[in-house]
């Protein structure tokens, strides 16, 4: 229970102790710890097993670039695999388990893979599991997936909520280290709207991990002071625990804020994370730099980590990773680790410096021109072997080794728009491309400026320049004195040796694998990556990519910039699917549109169907009805016998006004509207420019310059868009104005022989056949309420559609049903609506499928050739008007007891069921209580001429075949007597 490796200092709150569990064992840490720092404080170095070889691994880094210390956080439904212990903020009660091991982390049976490693080199899967192909999905992949372990999902619904949001700023500062804080201070004091994002829970970046003084203060104290000032500025928004994930176009950045990840459970109503879309006018990348290792044999043992991380654990978290340590470096920054650790009283056994000639560190065994050639230790480091400049080999017992191969500017986001990073010899690293995302610049270590002084100056300077672009005057703040050491590095990428030296520790890619790829001619960086899987794990090669590239460069005899670099893509770090989904889950997946009669229909026990976002009543079951067919048959028969009422509000309604409205309708409809009299309605057919039918509906002329168009429910939005297109792009001077009124009116169809009698009880005006004939329309009142009446029929019966302002919609359905009581009026839903329109032979969505013409629908004569309507010319194309083409027909089974299946294809008797014999298909199938059998509409080749013929309706999917008779599509009242009654 003791934190045996905890030393003094650091930014942790020792006044409070937090308990947590790792692999079932209890430990203690403090607020300010990460899971990794707390485990290291407790002497736990082994935190995971590697992906392919199941090698024991501990943390390599102290940040989000971590490839090794990947654990499963929390338990139950909140269990989250593949999280990095190095960034998981410790909280009281945290539980974590290691992954990719069985039965335990210290004894992992799959560790046998490590012994078999000669067989698992790069390309092993490609070479071994290539054939037989059918084995891949069924045999190879499941086995490989189980062996090549990743964490496990909970397989339960995520109980937490995630939000999405939108932020706007003048300057987005990505990363709150010295450069970012100096930039934010400069811009914040100038009054600009500033957003500062930082993935860490404590802002300050490396200032929290170093011992440098800034002026009189420690780096951490200076950072805390700046953060406090920024927090006091209303124009600055500080966003710790927020990772900027990617650069989108035109200054838009995505970021994820971990609102509640540092809490055991989110507070009530609070999201766990928020996915932000940040709209910035300028952005500054101050994301610092990421250290890279030097590869040597067995460089992956727990206890071997990046030198900067070793230093960070000591300085920021008060943790000595080992009681006796060594440092392996090719640059001066590595020396800092040695001096910092020594100053903390840690036994620094040796500094192995690949360089020769510089000054020696005082009081430390500083071996120049030496290299680390290997390591020993079963589940963690116990010794390293050193080859001295004179060739002598020494074994040195140590429990921790810090390795520094130099630092790579963290330019990830700067290359999201395909800009190529630029190599700089002076720092032996790539810096951000010149052609990165527009509006983004880089400062500080992210720009390759590694000293604290340069970070502060360049951050503030970049902010001034960015604001100057925006016309905002900013002045450089007084920045404290800070270290300004030059970069001193002699590139050294890997140590020659026989054993395996790891390049990409997460994906288990070694120097040998890179060599093998080269040998097999995968020399392009992109090929190298795909062949070896270098950089393809969850860490995306943040520590390994440049190293792999450098090895390949050496093998091919090219320079590193000649060899290339891989382009980073968003997201910067892995994102939870929940965050991407936001609130759009389950019931909240999309909004629901309710019809005006919804409340009433719900009271009636209606069964609802989703139609787009609408919920519509599908049918209204009555007591004793056990199947939907019973309800629908009753509704249809009652409507045709007396009267039925249906909510048709969902049809799109577009108010069209203006002196050119008639001419406009002539342009958008294939048939003529300008000649329609005031107070009349006409059915219209709207074509696409290619001659295919787009939509149909009725349009009413309510006044000289006032029209109301109806569209199908599904096409309300696209039709409106199309009308605006014609109005603005094709006919810019027409006097016509459009606005949707779909939601403004509650509209009911009242259909059946008693429809008029029913409405006469409610409508204040004379609606006799003489006063209000078939296809009439007009403004009326219903018990004093302003309303609209249209005498149109979809069912084939005497029918009206009556519209009242939506607030009266609920009252209207109740009034209609009450007034209809004496006629035994029924409410009917979309099923009965469908049955009656098929019985009447009206086309709907199944027939208007985006492939069919007016001619196909039997409406060819509606297309006027006397005016230049959209689609008129191309509807006459040879292929579309050819004799013998598809025509709409009615279909009945020869045996009335046999049901039909929609989608069945017509075949001649005896013809084989192959595409060449296909004559068309059944579009809509219903059971018609009126006919007493299944009936259908269908498109049939040469359909007009085939009436009376017997064909087969074959559905190979449903495995049905029915002998059918081709009939007129008008099963009910073909003469149209009823609707004129």
């Amino acid at each position: 229970m003791t934190q045996k490796n905890r030393i003094t200092g650091g930014q942790i709150d020792r006044s409070r102790t937090l308990s947590f569990r790792f692999d079932g064992k209890s430990y203690q840490g403090h607020p300010g710890d990460t899971l990794a720092s707390a485990l290291l404080a407790n002497g736990v170095r082994l935190m995971g097993r590697s992906f392919k070889y199941h090698r024991p691994r501990g943390p390599l880094s102290a940040g989000s670039e971590e490839p090794n210390a990947i654990v499963q956080l929390r338990e139950g439904a909140r269990q989250e695999p593949n999280t990095r212990a190095t960034v998981a903020e410790l909280f009281d009660g945290l539980t974590a388990t290691s992954q990719n091991r069985f039965p335990s982390l210290s004894f992992d049976m799959m560790g046998v893979n490590d012994l078999l490693s000669p067989f698992f080199a790069a390309g092993f899967y490609y070479k071994t599991f290539m054939w037989p192909a059918k084995f891949w999905e069924s045999i190879y992949e499941p086995i490989i997936r189980r062996a090549a372990g990743l964490g496990a999902l909970s397989r339960q619904d995520d109980p937490d909520a995630y939000d999405k949001g939108f932020l706007h700023c003048d300057l987005l500062v990505i990363g709150a280290g010295p450069a970012g804080l100096a930039a934010a201070l400069t811009a914040g004091r100038a009054g600009a709207r500033v957003i500062v994002t930082d993935e860490d829970f404590r802002m300050g970046g490396r200032l929290n991990a170093e011992t440098h003084a800034l002026g009189e203060a420690s780096g951490a104290d200076w950072a805390a002071g700046v953060v406090a000032e920024l927090a006091s500025l209303p124009n600055v928004r500080l966003m710790p625990r927020t990772t900027t994930l990617g650069a989108m176009d035109h200054g838009i950045y995505s970021a994820v804020e971990r609102v509640s990840d540092h809490l055991p459970v989110p507070a009530a109503g609070k999201p766990r994370q928020i996915l932000w879309r940040i709209y910035s006018r300028r952005a500054l990348l101050t994301a610092g730099a990421i250290e890279r290792p030097i590869a040597f044999e067995n460089n992956d043992r727990p206890g071997i980590m990046l030198a900067g991380a070793l230093r960070a654990y000591a300085n920021r978290w008060g943790v000595a990773v080992g009681e006796r340590v060594a440092v392996f470096t090719n640059n001066d920054d590595g020396l800092r680790t040695a001096t910092d650790l020594a100053a903390k009283g840690i036994d620094v056994a040796a500094v192995i410096d690949t360089r020769t000639g510089g000054p020696l560190l005082p009081g430390i065994r500083h071996l120049q021109g030496a290299e680390v050639t290997g390591s020993a230790g079963r589940l963690g480091l116990s010794a390293i072997s050193i080859r001295h400049a004179n060739g002598k080999v020494e074994s040195l017992p140590v429990t921790a080794l810090g390795v520094s191969g130099g630092w790579n500017p963290n330019l990830n986001i700067a290359s999201h728009h395909r800009g190529r990073p630029v190599w700089q010899d002076a720092i032996a690293a790539f810096v951000p491309p010149k052609d990165g995302p527009a509006g983004l610049s880089a400062a500080g270590a992210a720009a390759g400026l590694f000293s604290t002084h340069a970070a502060l100056q360049s951050g503030a300077g970049a902010a001034v320049a960015a604001l100057d672009d925006l016309g905002v005057k900013a002045t450089l703040p007084d920045l404290p004195r800070a270290e300004d050491a030059p970069v001193a590095i002699a590139p050294k990428w890997y140590v020659q040796g026989k054993g395996r030296a790891w390049v990409d520790q997460q994906n288990d890619v070694t120097v040998k694998d890179v060599k093998l790829a080269h040998q097999e001619n995968f020399v392009s960086v992109e090929h190298l990556k795909r062949y070896t899987t270098l950089g393809m794990a969850t860490d995306q090669g943040k520590t390994g990519n440049i190293l792999g590239l450098a090895v390949m460069a050496e093998l091919t005899g090219r320079t590193i910039p000649e060899t290339g670099t891989t382009i980073y893509r968003p997201p910067y770090t892995p994102v939870a699917m929940g965050a991407l989904g936001g609130r759009s889950r389950g019931h909240e997946f999309k909004p629901t549109r309710l019809t005006p009669s919804h409340k009433w229909a719900n009271e009636q026990g209606a069964v609802f169907v989703e139609v787009g976002m609408w919920l519509r009543a599908q049918w209204f079951p009555k007591a004793g009805e056990t199947t939907w067919r019973q309800s629908v048959d009753r509704e249809v028969l009652a409507t045709r016998a007396s009267v039925g009422i249906c909510d048709v509000t969902t049809l799109g309604k577009i108010d069209i006004q203006g002196t050119d409205a008639g001419a406009f309708l002539d342009k958008v409809y294939a048939n003529t509207f300008s000649t329609l009299g005031v107070g009349k309605v006409r059915y219209g057919l709207m074509l696409r420019e290619d001659g295919i039918v787009m939509d149909d509906g009725t349009t009413a002329r309510m006044g000289q310059n006032e029209w109301v168009m109806t569209t199908t429910t599904a096409n309300a939005v696209p039709v409106f868009r199309h009308l605006e297109y014609v109005r603005q792009c094709l006919c810019p001077d027409m006097d016509v104005q459009l606005i949707s009124t779909t939601e403004a009116w509650a509209q009911y169809s009242v259909a059946g022989p008693n429809a008029r009698k029913l409405l006469e009880k409610l409508v204040d005006q004379d609606i006799s056949d003489a006063a209000f004939p078939y296809m009439a329309c007009g403004a009326i009142t219903v018990k004093g309420v302003r309303a609209r009446l249209f005498r149109i029929s979809f069912s084939g019966e005497l029918a009206y559609e009556i519209a009242v302002p939506t607030r009266y919609g609920d009252a209207m359905i109740r009034a209609l049903m009450e007034a209809g009581r004496e006629f035994d009026a029924v409410a009917y839903g979309t099923e009965s609506l469908g049955v009656m329109r098929v019985e009447k032979g009206h086309v709907a969505g199944n027939e208007l499928n985006g492939q069919t013409t007016a001619l196909n629908m039997g409406l060819g004569k509606m297309v006027s050739k006397k005016k230049d309507a959209i689609g008129m010319v191309l509807s006459q194309r040879e292929g579309l008007v050819a004799e013998g083409g598809l025509r709409i027909v009615g279909v009945k089974p020869v045996d009335p007891a046999q049901p039909l299946t929609a989608g069945s294809h017509f075949l001649e008797p005896g013809a084989a069921a192959v595409a060449a014999n296909d004559l068309g298909w059944l579009t809509s199938v219903v059971y018609s209580p009126h006919v007493g059998s299944s009936i259908a509409l269908g498109y049939l080749k040469n359909g007009e001429a085939r009436k009376g013929q017997r064909l087969r309706a074959v559905n190979l999917l449903a495995k049905t075949e029915v002998e059918v008779e081709i009939v007129s599509a008008h099963f009910v009242d073909p003469e149209g007597v009823r609707l004129r009654g």
Binding site: Y279, A663, E724, C729, L730, C731, P732, M734
Partner: protein
């Protein structure tokens, strides 16, 4: 992407619906040709013969979740840089369209 709406300033492209090549504005009058075949040819070319450049392109975008203006957006299809945004109605008039 951000489209700088001539009336409303910068707006997220998510608010817009894309249609395609702005040459759709140059719709021929189907009745203005000496023969049905000529009309057919002209209408066919208008509808189907469009360029698809890697580089500068004039496109029609509809501000569906905004003010319902159709816009002509001049955009570099390679870099996504937006060079010019005009109201389609103004462009249509400039190109001689009226009623």
């Amino acid at each position: 992407m951000i489209i700088n709406h001539p009336l409303l300033g910068p707006r997220d492209a998510q608010e817009f619906t894309y249609l395609g090549d702005a040459t759709l504005i140059d719709r021929p009058d189907g009745l203005s040709f000496p023969s049905a075949d000529a009309a057919m040819d002209a209408m066919h070319d208008y509808l189907y013969q469009r360029s698809n450049p890697a580089g500068e392109h004039r496109e029609l975008w509809f501000h569906e979740q905004g003010d319902r203006s159709w816009l002509v957006v001049t955009r570099n299809t390679v870099t996504h840089e937006i060079l010019k945004v005009e109201l389609a109605r103004d462009v249509a008039r400039m190109r001689g369209r009226s009623k």
